[in-house]
């Protein structure tokens, strides 16, 4: 019965209630949408990061990544790769030779990460070849020359273009400095500027020759999985298989990606919470007005025997109904918007330059994960309960004799 009265009380002053409900709905619409936007952005970034940069899991000799020491390679890499390929949930495995080097043109020189890969196998694990803006990803035979593929950002910094020669300075297996000349055959463009500027790709067999590496030399093994959610489990399995190797997951390899996937969503959830907090003041104000307007009625209720507990409950329920109606409207509006823009995407080309520098793509597909609704419900109920306390206290502190006396 109290709930029944409370619900009808919400609609007593329709205009006043609708104003707050609209405020809540619009505020949350904005909040939830930006949450979905951030999440879509993060998720996309994580996906493309994994599929171009890190793979899901990477194996190295434990100290290799400290200074990319060529001596610290993976022993019996073929056996390692074969065993990983057998694991369920593994989509592809590839290896590469990774080392730091310098590259120079007549204009400039830059430090780079040189990746010696087998293009065919590498393409099974990485989508990088899809991001080529010029040339090819080792698909065309160049005769005797050593081909190299670099990022657009690096090409610009070096003032070089397709078919030009790049001189690369590196330390060979025995620590001696050597030089090699490469022909620029492909330029890729990734959203991640840092990657763009540093990652250069050459054929493994060329690098092996230049560096005079032993046969089967591999510094890094990358693993791509069917499902990103399986990362931790399979990482554990692999780590158990190869206790002497360092086994890292994408989020450990790229703190940037970890931030995208976790922190960003947490942050936008806090943003939603702050909007709710601001709305709380509107709710408190409205409910206080509702209580003050009904001083005599509440006095009458107290007089005829409706106890403080019930009156308190009534005001709390009124606040909850009011807030939940607004929140539900906001949530439905957000879901509709996210559903629509989740398929068509939000085009950010106008600000794409800046966005790229942060490692984001131009088109964002907002998304809401199913876990959001309960989190959101808990927040709304918390805020509503909090907002109801003050008006409800006001109501039960009314004195019946004074409240019923006519002014």
């Amino acid at each position: 019965m109290i709930a029944h009265i409370a619900w009808r009380n919400v609609w007593r002053n329709k205009l006043r209630s609708l104003v707050v409900i609209s405020a809540i709905a619009l505020g949350l619409w904005g909040g939830i949408f930006s949450y979905a936007f951030m999440q879509g952005m993060g998720e996309q970034q994580v996906y493309s990061g994994i599929h171009t940069e890190t793979g899901h899991i990477q194996l190295n000799e434990p100290k290799f990544l400290q200074n990319y020491d060529l001596q610290r390679h993976i022993e019996q890499s073929e056996r390692v790769e074969e065993q990983i390929r057998q694991l369920p949930g593994v989509k592809g495995v590839c290896d590469r030779i990774e080392l730091t080097a310098m590259t120079s043109t007549a204009y400039a020189s830059r430090g780079i990460m040189l990746n010696g890969i087998d293009p065919q196998i590498y393409n099974g694990v990485s989508d990088l070849h899809e991001y080529l803006t010029e040339g090819n990803f080792f698909e065309v035979d160049n005769g005797g020359v050593n081909p190299i593929v670099i990022g657009q950002a690096l090409a610009e910094k070096l003032h070089t273009d397709l078919s030009s020669r790049l001189v690369v300075t590196l330390q060979d297996y025995r620590g001696e400095i050597s030089y090699a000349s490469f022909k620029l055959v492909g330029i890729y463009r990734l959203h991640n500027t840092e990657f763009n500027e540093q990652m250069a790709f050459v054929r493994k067999q060329d690098l092996q020759k230049i560096l005079r590496l032993p046969k089967g030399y591999v510094s890094t093994v990358s693993v791509l999985l069917d499902d990103t959610k399986q990362t931790k489990v399979i990482q554990g399995q692999i780590a158990k298989l190869f206790p002497n190797l360092q086994v890292q997951s994408w989020d450990e390899l790229s703190p940037m990606l970890r931030m995208m996937s976790g922190t960003m969503t947490q942050m936008s959830l806090i943003f939603v919470f702050i909007i709710l907090l601001a709305l709380a003041f509107g709710i408190i104000n409205t409910m206080l007005m509702a209580v003050m307007d009904r001083t005599r009625e509440i006095g009458m209720l107290l007089s005829v025997g409706m106890n403080q507990k019930k009156i308190f409950t009534m005001i709390v329920l009124e606040t909850l109904f009011l807030s939940l109606t607004g929140a539900l409207a906001g949530l439905l509006m957000s879901i509709a918007t996210v559903n629509y823009l989740g398929t068509s995407g939000v085009n950010l080309t106008a600000i794409a330059e800046g966005i790229n520098a942060l490692g984001y793509s131009e088109r964002v597909y907002p998304q809401l994960d199913p876990g959001f609704a309960p989190q959101f419900a808990v927040m709304v109920i918390m805020i509503a309960l909090l907002s109801s306390l003050f008006p409800a206290m006001r109501a039960i502190h009314l004195k019946p004799a004074e409240a019923v006396r006519g002014e």
């Binding site: 019965m1 009265i5 007593r12 009625e297 209720l301 005829v304 025997g305 409706m306 019923v404």
Partner: protein, 234 residues
């Protein structure tokens, strides 16, 4: 020997409203009200009628003295206990703002019994009976604001009576009503007093209402100056 039929006993009741100038609204009232009485409290404006009724109803605490309801001193009760005491023992009719605007006539009449947590059959039977007495069956599903002032007060009386309280307190129940509505309301109160032996205590300024009372207590400046029975007027 005490008369066990006494419902309300007031002992040396005083009420002073504190303020910059303290107001002595009630100054030593001793009164007894028996079961089934139909009593009017009268007197000039400001003589303390509302103050007295509020103390009897446990809405306000006396500064001095005692209010005994069937020998229970209600000034000893905590505010929470008092709400409960009112719920189970006293019916209230105010001058206005009696009804809950968001509930229908029927729901308003049932309200006190709902608060008491009575079972649905009992509530429905009682409400149906009262609607019949009111002659407002056709209006049972509408909200109070669509009723005339007189009809609203009749519903308020029905609501107060529904739970069969020990007595009903009515502070100027007819003050906002025209003469016809006043007569109808008084008739309803009298009928219920007669048929259900419900004790009524009401304040009024209206001579016609006083004429219907069986006993008239006159207050002046916070004191009882006259207390007389009168024959029922036919």
């Amino acid at each position: 020997m005490r008369n066990t039929m006494e419902v309300i006993e007031l002992k040396k009741l005083h009420k002073t409203y504190e303020g910059i100038v303290p107001v002595q609204a009630v100054k030593g009232v001793d009164l007894l009200f028996g079961k089934g009485e139909f009593t009017a409290i009268v007197g000039p404006s400001g003589c303390g009628k509302t103050t007295l009724l509020n103390m009897i109803g446990g809405l306000d605490a006396p500064t001095e003295g005692q209010v005994l309801i069937e020998d229970q001193d209600i000034s000893a009760l905590s505010p929470a206990e008092l709400v409960d005491f009112r719920l189970w023992n006293i019916g209230f009719v105010f001058q206005s703002y009696n009804l809950i605007p968001v509930l229908t006539v029927k729901e308003n009449i049932a309200f006190i019994m709902e608060l008491q947590g009575r079972n649905h059959k009992e509530i429905n039977d009682r409400v149906a009976y009262l609607l019949d007495v009111l002659g407002m069956k056709d209006k049972m599903n509408i909200r109070p604001r669509y009723l005339s002032g007189g009809q609203q007060q009749r519903v308020a009386v029905a609501r107060a009576l529904a739970s069969s309280p020990k007595f009903v307190l009515a502070d100027e129940p007819t003050a906002n009503l025209d003469s016809q509505s006043t007569e109808n309301l008084l008739e309803l109160m009298e009928t219920m007093n007669r048929t259900e032996d419900i004790t009524f205590l009401f304040s009024t300024h209206d001579q016609r209402v006083m004429d219907k009372a069986h006993r008239i207590v006159t207050l002046e400046d916070g004191k009882v100056v006259r207390d007389g029975k009168q024959e029922k007027v036919e």
